[in-house]
């Protein structure tokens, strides 16, 4: 009688231990998964914020004679220009369609031309004009969905 009672104790302890370990491993898996997803999200958001901090675009000169807007990138990350519009300052901005217009490398060794008409929309009207360019860091740009990280775009707006 005493012998059989001892066996049941051993079995009980073994079962309880196995259940505890199984539940613990399950919990570990859940927490690890959540932590992994969170970590990926944190890294991605940080990368986007940093990419925006590194993005700078300069309009150097507008060649009205030839119809070219010259831009350059003194920042630390290559940029993808998604929209460019020149419109009268007194008018409201024209509707903008976002698409990849040009890529501007992060280097001041050269300036990049944006042809007025084909790459840069011109709305004629009363002077003075305003140029508005939107660009996004190439590291967070998704060619299949240009507006995926639209909140991390930069906008250059200046009188011309």
């Amino acid at each position: 009688m005493r012998k059989s009672r001892g066996v049941s104790y051993v079995v009980t302890v073994a079962i309880m231990t196995a259940v505890t370990i199984a539940l613990g491993l399950f919990l570990w898996g859940i927490v690890s998964g959540w932590a992994g997803v969170s970590a990926i999200g944190i890294v991605a958001e940080t990368n986007k914020g940093i990419a925006q901090q590194r993005s700078i675009l300069v309009v150097e000169f507008i060649d009205w004679g030839r119809g070219i807007v010259w831009v350059s990138n003194p920042g630390k990350v290559d940029l993808v220009i998604l929209s460019c519009a020149i419109y009268p300052k007194s008018a409201s901005p024209p509707p903008i369609s976002y698409r990849e217009i040009a890529r501007v490398n992060a280097s001041m060794n050269s300036a990049y031309p944006l042809e007025i008409g084909s790459k840069c929309q011109l709305v004629t009207g009363q002077k003075p004009y305003v140029i508005e360019i939107r660009a996004i860091a190439s590291t967070i740009y998704n060619p299949n969905n240009p507006l995926e990280n639209a909140q991390w775009m930069i906008m250059v707006r200046q009188n011309v």
Partner: protein
């Protein structure tokens, strides 16, 4: 003995559970927190780096001038870094100002590692190749490595070079007897095809009766020479502006009508009633006035006693005066210098009239000219007040 064994075996699952919880904490939660803090630190670092970049960028300051070599006649950009940070020029644009287009081609005029200027440093860039053969108004834009753009003045070029202008005549304009502290401007305006340089001269007189003569390079022709004092056209007997024809007349003299300052007498004005009745108290005011012909303001420094007399019996007349000084009056201005309260009594049943005399002797009111320092005093003035029952 039996209970002890059971308790020991039950503790196995508790230990295993505790170990798993600890493992989860140290292997999942703690690394996640570290990752979050690390990400935040990375972002802050980048944000700080951008802030420093923006500060440096805004601190850049560059003066861009255009000059021509006296011997080789090549056009040169004179670049001067007057900011606190190092400036690297990476690109220079030459712009046809009228057509707003780049010259000579649709690209920057100069590009690459052009010039690096430390704070306070100066440098030059040969831009003759950009404007060879160009005639018109041109402006140069210098682009820095941090993305700032600095522009030169707009200059007129003829076939790629600055126009050499040698003026054959010199016009001298003299301004005589200026007034200290006033701003004088001379405008020489061509009436027709003349050319003059400069067209305007500005001078602020730093001393009284100052004279100045200025020279203008000028071509033959008709000109108007005008003199302004503090923005107003000066009225002089010779006329202003003066019309001249170069080379017949090459000197203009503006003699300002401002003679030596002379002292004018101060006017003492007694304001008092002509007649008062006995047993009454009345006020007499004495003012000083500076003639509007005076050439300067006068500081009234002191006022002596004013004489007040009466033929009323003793005990039936009393007066008390307050004097004011230490103020400035301008030409034509009038200010109070004394206030006297006078009491006159009257005998019961008395008849006839009595009088009170008020006299401001010469020299009672004393002042000093603010520009010349000369003395100003009043001329004598008096009045009589009748006292009736």
């Amino acid at each position: 003995m039996c209970r002890r064994n059971v308790g020991r075996r039950r503790g196995v699952s508790a230990i295993a559970g505790g170990a798993i919880v600890l493992a989860i904490f140290f292997m999942v939660i703690v690394p996640l927190v570290i990752l979050m803090q690390n990400s935040y630190a990375l972002f802050l670092n980048e944000s700080n780096s951008r802030r420093i970049f923006d500060t440096d960028r805004m601190s850049e300051s560059l003066t861009v001038g255009v000059s021509q070599d006296a011997i080789t006649k090549r056009l040169t950009l004179l670049l001067s870094n007057d900011g606190p940070v190092n400036v690297r020029i990476v690109r220079v644009w030459a712009i046809d100002v009228v057509r707003q287009t780049s010259i000579p081609m649709a690209k920057p005029c100069l590009e690459g590692e052009l010039l690096s200027l430390p704070p306070g440093g100066n440098g030059t860039l040969d831009v003759q190749t950009c404007v060879n053969g160009f005639t018109g108004i041109v402006q140069f834009l210098a682009v820095t490595e941090r993305g700032r753009i600095f522009s030169s003045n707009k200059i007129y070029l003829k076939e790629g070079g600055l126009i050499d202008i040698v003026f054959p005549y010199t016009l001298t304009v003299s301004i005589i007897n200026m007034k200290k502290g006033r701003m004088y401007e001379v405008y020489v305006t061509p009436l027709g095809n003349g050319k003059v340089s400069p067209e305007k001269f500005t001078h602020k007189a730093t001393a009284s009766n100052e004279n100045v003569t200025v020279a203008f390079g000028i071509f033959p022709g008709n000109y108007s020479v005008a003199l302004y004092e503090n923005g107003k056209l000066v009225q002089i007997p010779e006329g202003n502006p003066q019309l001249i024809e170069v080379p017949d007349k090459q000197a203009v003299i503006f003699i300002l009508n401002r003679g030596p300052i002379i002292s004018l007498p101060l006017d003492a004005i007694i304001i008092a009633p002509k007649k008062v009745s006995g047993n009454s108290l009345f006020i007499v005011e004495v003012d000083v006035q500076l003639s509007d012909k005076a050439n300067e303001s006068v500081m009234i420094t002191s006022v002596s006693n004013i004489l007040i007399t009466s033929d009323l019996p003793p005990g039936q007349f009393d007066s008390d005066c307050s004097y004011y000084g230490g103020f400035s009056i301008r030409p034509g201005e009038r200010e109070i210098v004394a206030l006297c309260s006078i009491w006159v009594g009257w005998e019961k049943g008395g008849t006839g009239t009595k009088s009170v005399g008020i006299s401001v002797p010469a020299g009672t009111i004393y002042g000093i000219g603010e520009e010349s320092g000369i003395s100003y005093t009043n001329e004598p003035e008096s009045t009589t007040i009748k006292v009736t029952p």
